[in-house]
């Protein structure tokens, strides 16, 4: 009997060895993999239990973590949710995040490598670990003015500082309240998220840098003119035939200027006048003369077709190279397959305003430790030298004349010289227009560059146009920031 019992004892021992092995594998050897599993809610709770850093605008929090009596310990609160949503984005438990909350998640949670010593310190001292604060470049006056000026229209406004690339205002409408997604009940998050997704106006789109891209229309003429002047073959005074209608080469399609007439009275028209009065036919002719390659090269210097992080992901605007002359003609006045974000057009305008040098747009001023020491700050970065100072000066003159006595007259501000360009882009034969304004002020010493986008025809279908709806918004915002 004892011999059998000895064997049974060995079996029991082996059973416990099996348990020790399985627990060792789970708790030690596989622990890191298991901890990294997205379904492991403990990782989420841990991320939440650390006090997530605030997002600041001019030193005041627009997103912050407040203590709450549940297992996540803190809840994310957005003080002015709708206004700053395009910048802050939202932060949910386990359902993803967007905006700065997503782009700078590591800094906000305190897990970025630069915060290693802070983390170590909190482990040793037993303090609640705390993430870094993120100070945005946004300007409260500019943001509020842009928000107010856009009213109930569907669209976006972006204001930048041409000399530094700092983004002073980033408004997208309709907006949403990130607080609705910051709740701690997953079913509520999903319910609220589904409602936002189902909204036909797509409030979750950040139309300033992403969303469904729009054709830039006439504001793209700045890019084509840039390419023309940079080529050395054309000057603002270069003349083009001035018909009232133009049949696209190799096609039966006919294009017109916006008023269905000629561009001014002459038999020929200069590039300067074509841009000032925003005529399509001379620009189509210029486009064909320049060729798609030259336009593509210039567009890419401004940032078209390129990835960009500000540090939010910016959807690349597009200009497609083509050998089809009809397409080249259409794309030369911002139609065809051209697509652009307001931020992209802001880069074009700011480049012109800054003597041809495009600064990299940036939304983040600095990263601050919980005790407000600067861990990291962003200095202005050159994005590209898109055009020469001469070209920049020539384009500025054209844009100033466009506001003074051209197609952008509604952006005029008494006592300040404003440079601007409007755009009224066609979408489909019966679809509402997309309306644009891009410009800067003061023209002689540019402090602010602004781009306004209005989608869905501004509610006027095909009746509205850039100068009617977009230019006054730009004017209102520029007045607010200039009077600060």
């Amino acid at each position: 009997m004892n011999r059998e019992l000895k064997r049974v004892s060995i079996v029991v021992l082996l059973m416990f060895v099996a348990l020790m092995t399985s627990t060792s594998i789970i708790q030690v050897f596989q622990a890191d993999n298991l901890q990294a599993d997205a379904r492991n809610t403990r990782a989420v709770i841990e991320a939440y239990s650390a006090k997530r850093g605030p997002i600041l605008v001019e030193g005041e929090a627009v997103a912050l973590s407040k203590p709450i009596d549940d297992m996540y310990k803190f809840i994310r609160v957005y003080t002015d949710g709708q206004l700053y949503a395009p910048a802050t984005g939202y932060y949910t438990i386990g359902q993803g995040s967007t905006g700065i909350e997503n782009a700078l998640n590591a800094e906000l949670t305190g897990t970025a490598n630069s915060q290693f010593f802070e983390k170590l310190n909190s482990i040793i001292t037993g303090q609640i670990p705390q993430g870094a604060a993120v100070e945005l470049t946004l300007d409260r006056v500019a943001q509020q003015a842009a928000w107010d000026a856009l009213g109930d229209l569907q669209g976006a406004v972006i204001v930048t500082e041409p000399k530094t690339g700092r983004i002073l205002a980033m408004v997208s409408k309709p907006s949403f309240d990130p607080n609705e997604l910051a709740v701690h009940k997953t079913s509520t998050i999903i319910e609220n998220y589904d409602a936002l997704i189902a909204d036909p106006a797509d409030p979750l789109y950040n139309r300033a840098i992403a969303g469904n891209l729009n054709p830039p229309g006439s504001v793209f003429k700045l890019v084509v003119a840039s390419a023309a002047f940079q080529s050395g073959k054309f000057t603002p005074d270069s003349q083009f035939p001035n018909p009232a209608s133009f049949t696209l080469p190799g096609s039966t399609a006919v294009i017109y200027n916006s008023g269905r007439g000629t561009c001014g009275d002459g038999a020929t028209v200069s590039i300067a006048d074509a841009v000032r009065l925003s005529c399509n036919i001379p620009m189509a002719e210029l486009g064909i003369a320049l060729g798609s390659r030259a336009i593509l090269d210039e567009a890419e210097k401004y940032g078209f077709n390129k990835e960009l992080q500000v540090p939010l992901d910016v959807t690349p605007s597009t200009y497609e190279y083509t050998t089809d002359k009809a397409q080249v003609a259409l794309s030369a006045f911002g139609q065809g397959s051209d697509r652009a974000t307001p931020l992209q057009m802001a880069m074009v305008t700011a480049g012109i305003a800054n003597g041809g040098t495009v600064m990299k747009p940036n939304l983040v001023d600095s990263i601050l430790s919980p005790d407000l020491r600067v861990l990291d700050s962003f200095s202005p970065e050159v994005y590209s030298d898109a055009i020469s100072p001469t070209t920049a000066r020539q384009l500025t003159e054209i844009m100033v004349s466009g506001v003074e006595n051209g197609a952008a007259s509604n952006a005029r501000i008494d006592g300040v010289s404003v440079a601007g360009k409007t755009g009224t882009a066609e979408n489909g034969p019966d679809d509402p227009y997309t309306l644009w304004f891009t410009g800067f002020a003061p023209a002689n010493n540019p402090e602010f560059a602004i781009t306004v986008l209005i989608e869905n025809g501004g509610g006027m279908g095909q009746e509205g146009y850039g100068n009617l709806l977009a230019a006054p918004i730009a004017k209102q915002v520029l007045e607010a920031v200039l009077n600060k």
């Binding site: 049974v8 059973m15 416990f16 348990l19 399985s22 627990t23 403990r42």
Partner: protein, 462 residues
Amino acid sequence: MVEASPLNPEPTGAMKLLKPLRIPQKLRNRELFLLVFACVINTAAIVLVQLGALRSIDTSLVTLGIGLSVLVFGMHIVMRYIAPDADPFLLPVATVLNGLGVAMIYRIDLAEGDSGWDAASTRQIVWTALAIVIAIITLAVVRNHRVLQRYTYVAGFIALVLLLLPMLPFIGTEVSGARVWISVGAFSFQPGEVAKIALAIFFAGYLVQHRDSLSMVGKKVLGVRFPRLRDLGPLLVVWALSMSVIIFQRDLGTSLLYFGLFLVMLYVATARLSWVLIGLGLFAAGAYIAAQSLSYVHGRMINWLDAFHPEVFGADPGSYQLVQGIFGLSHGGLIGTGLGEGDPDLVPLANSDFIITSLGEELGLIGLFAIFGLYLLFVSRGFRIGFAGQDDFGKLLGVGLAFIVALQVFIVVGGVTRVIPLTGLTTPFLAAGGSSLVANWIIVALLLRLSDSVRNQPRMVI
């Protein structure tokens, strides 16, 4: 009644009572020391839970804990009188496991905001008190374990009745798919827990009687002597019983426990490996057929083999609970988060079926190894009875009772750590559940009684 004569003075009642205290009792003193240690560990665990989860100390539960300690020491004192030579490790090990369980159940109550009679920990403490009282009564009533042998077939009958109770209408209830509960009013009980003890007594008595016919006759094939077909009867009966537990009560774990218990006792009694081979073959065949034809068994197999597959994880019932338990264990790592500092309440049934992952999360791998060590110590003390015992019934019963604990730990912990498919069983002494506590404390009492008899009797000269 014998008259006291002057030559042989009858000791007075008071002297009788004092006698065990005056005579040095080495084993009991060792037990006392270990018990004090166990109670210190338990109190510390509860205080740590409060500091971790509440950041303050609440004395109400400590008072209840002291009540329990008093009961355990009461049992110790009773043993000084009625089982002075019993094993000194069994009671302290059971106490510390029981106490750690209470601390963890209390910790999960705190996380879920349960208090008073809604709290599983309060009920667990009351059940523990009841279980210890029943253990003391068992120890007092069963003064000689051989008496139990007389009731072999009664025990068998009781086991059968207990097993069938949950199948009865009105009192039988189904909890998470398994029909193993009876409830009368607010009172509910899992009779299968007590049935395992009755079964161990029945198996021990039956096998001692029939071991000769089961072990001696039969043909030898490939060096292994196989039994005659007609001797297969008992094995087939137990196999059929286990299979019906799977089919009708939908309780895989209990079925495995009963059958494993029978096989081990059969092997120890008959020394015939062929029994084990036939038994394992039968059980494997039965389990395979069950996995093919019963959806709940099939589901358990899939959850076991492919737990992390997103579809299996998201299915209902899928591997969600199992995987959450594993996440909890991995969160604890080597040294654990510390009592009250983890999130064990994220796992469904964190205080019963999955208490081991809760403990693993907060006490770490080190803590789990310590718990495994305690179980091994407990089981080895039971096996010691088997090695040192004088009578075959006592030996078999000791081995059987100890093996119940070992196998139950293996089935539960193996289930939550994916060594074997997950089945619903309670972790002895740790998990929340009154029936299980009562049954396991009866096992403690019986093992104490057996160990006392082993030491009481002069060793047979062989």
